[in-house]
């Protein structure tokens, strides 16, 4: 039986797809591009702070001693954390609600763990640099809009299967962009649906917990959180000293083979409610961690059940790794980089198709080119000013995009603006890699820093090739 979409449905779906695409175009592009780069946020963090000592061993007694040293000069804090070495991040960090320090292999405290450029990148993806709560809701709404775009895109394509492998390159620009948009969209649909649903979750969870609290828990939002993420343990006031080492050792004994602790959370330090949570990474699961709960003196209380509890609890704690591709090693990160880049290209080509269909050009053509090609330039320039010079760079990031858009409007020739911005990005990327080498010396040529610097040079080379080809096509 042949499956055929009615012409009216296709027409209405296409109208819906265009409207939703235009509504979300620029925001979707920023979220997709920053999300693609955020797959490597651990590597960017290590590249940004290459002087921090890296080691993978866990020494429970050393961690306990370091924790007490770290907490000596801390103000009162609701939570304190020890982030242990984990896949992709062979570092130990100690954090309170106010500050953070790295740990040296000899057990002494190292430098501050600040990595503001990586935060610039991840905050763009999570909040679009808006106030946290509103930004997260807006980004989550984009996840739902992506669902709408997937549905409308599939229903507006009458030759979905027949054209599934069809790509007309270099001819008519609109046909090329349309084929690119459709081919990347159709085959990447499973990934896009996953990204949309898991991405929407992060911000919708707060809206949902409020509705669920009113509906089922007499307005108690804490009760919703406890139902999903596990309840607060029954505690007696702590009698002995805080036993981090004992808790970690017990977790190692109880967890299945191959699992290892990746963080220790001390809830309500130095109060009667003080207790310890040891988060344990299961390498063959998508869950972020299983949590083992201990009293302050190190008595085992319970396990939350993210690994073997109710399916809903397992699913909700799998959202993070599934969304960011943090499972299965570097191969999965590369897979997510390619799939994320494809989604970014889809966001851009969708607007390109709409612009090309208009049969006229105006300021929108210029501003769009400035925005699209100004954003990679803004990432590179802000990395130079933040990582190499130490200037706070969020304003520089947005300023670069505004100047790029203004410059494109002033030049009033899309191809020329695009090439200028591409060459400027190439120059900034090369300057960034070279500057990193000059500032950090041998540390820039080791571990994750080396791979990021090689990546910067390769991306610069690819962009230069694109700019050269575009020049020859003129």
């Amino acid at each position: 039986m042949a499956f055929k979409l009615s012409p009216a449905l296709v027409k209405n779906s296409l109208a819906s797809h265009s409207w939703l695409g235009l509504l979300t175009g620029a925001l979707m592009y920023w979220v997709c591009l920053s999300g693609t780069l955020s797959v490597l946020y651990q590597e960017f963090e290590r590249w940004e702070t290459p002087a921090v000592a890296e080691f993978t061993e866990i020494n429970p007694e050393g961690i306990e001693r370091a924790y007490h040293t770290f907490m000596e000069d801390q103000e009162a804090t609701e939570h304190a954390y020890v982030l242990l070495p984990r896949p992709g991040m062979p570092r130990t960090l100690l954090m309170s609600d106010h500050s953070s320090r790295t740990l040296n292999p000899d057990g002494s405290l190292g430098e501050s763990a600040a990595h503001p450029w990586t935060h610039l990148l991840t905050d763009l993806h999570l909040y679009l640099h808006l106030p946290t709560s509103w930004g997260m809701i807006l980004v989550s709404a984009l996840g739902a809009m992506l669902c709408a775009l997937i549905i409308s895109g599939l229903l507006s394509h009458p030759r979905l299967f027949k054209d599934a492998f069809h790509f007309r390159r270099k001819g008519n620009a609109r046909l090329e962009q349309t084929d690119l948009h459709n081919r990347l969209s159709v085959w990447g649909a499973p990934f896009h649906i996953m990204i949309a649903v898991t991405g929407a979750f992060f911000g919708l969870a707060s809206l949902f917990s409020w509705v669920a609290a009113e509906a089922f828990f007499e307005g108690d939002t804490d009760a919703v959180v406890e139902e999903v993420y596990g309840g607060h343990p029954e505690l007696e006031p702590s009698k002995g000293p805080l036993a981090i080492a004992r808790s970690v050792q017990q977790t190692l004994a109880m967890a299945p083979e191959g699992a290892r602790p990746i963080y220790v959370t001390i809830e309500h330090p130095d109060t009667d409610e003080e207790h310890i949570i040891v988060g344990t990474h299961y390498p063959d699961r998508l869950i972020y961690a299983e949590q083992f709960l201990f009293s302050g003196e190190g008595e085992f209380l319970n396990k939350v059940g993210f690994s073997d509890g109710e399916p809903g609890r397992q699913a909700i704690f799998s959202v993070y790794r599934l969304h960011f591709g943090h499972f299965g090693g570097i191969g999965v990160k590369l897979l997510y980089l390619l799939l994320g880049l494809a989604l970014t290209v889809i966001a851009v080509s969708g607007i390109n198709i709409w612009l090309a269909k208009r049969k006229h050009r105006d300021y929108l053509n210029n501003l769009w080119v400035g925005l699209v090609w100004g954003t990679p330039l803004a990432f590179a320039l802000s990395a130079i000013t933040q990582v190499l010079i130490g200037w706070p760079s969020v304003a520089i990031f947005w300023g670069t995009i505004v100047v790029a858009m203004g410059g494109a409007q002033w030049l009033d020739r899309e191809a020329l603006s695009r090439r200028w911005l591409q060459w400027l990005t190439v120059a900034c990327l090369l300057l960034l890699a070279l500057g990193h080498l000059l500032v950090f010396g041998a540390q820039a040529l080791a571990g994750a820093a080396l791979w990021i610097n090689i990546g910067l040079v390769l991306v610069a080379a690819a962009l230069a090739l694109i700019a050269l080809r575009s020049f020859r096509r003129q």
């Binding site: 779906s13 109208a15 008519n172 669920a212 050009r361």
Partner: protein
Amino acid sequence: MSWIIGTAATLTSLAGLGGLLYSWRARPPKPVALRSLGWALLVAALGLWLLAQPAEFAVTFALFVPALLAWGLILHRAQVRQPARDTKLEQRGFRWPALAALARQLWLLLVSVPLAAVASALVSLAVTDWLPWERVNTLVLGVLFAPVLWGAASYWACADPKRWRPALTLLIVGLLAAAYLFL
């Protein structure tokens, strides 16, 4: 060992995509058997991934890896055409949009974003509450199902030529779900 099976799974997916490519591009009569074989090989690749990787990873690889393979096939057999000459497009200056058009866009925005969001959150919580599961499972299914429902509602709000129909339906369905949840 797992990388050998993983490679076999990737090649099986590639063979499946090859089957689909030839069956979809062929002139009538279409080789239906080849198309079925293509889909079967893509499913078989999932079986191989399950042998090579933990179950959750295997499912993600079986769903995501074919995208890269398909794009590789598409690029390999792309028709490279002569670059088209740039046609001189009419140059327009800035124009203020008409007030009626702005009002229509605002209406679509209100229906497809806040109304669709609230209605889908309420409906997904109400519908999943009927399931005979533990509360944690219904809540999680609800929160993961809501964006899909919101997306479908937004699509409909923008696609329906009768603008009032999706708005009214979302309002009524949302109110019914709210009544079920809160009364």
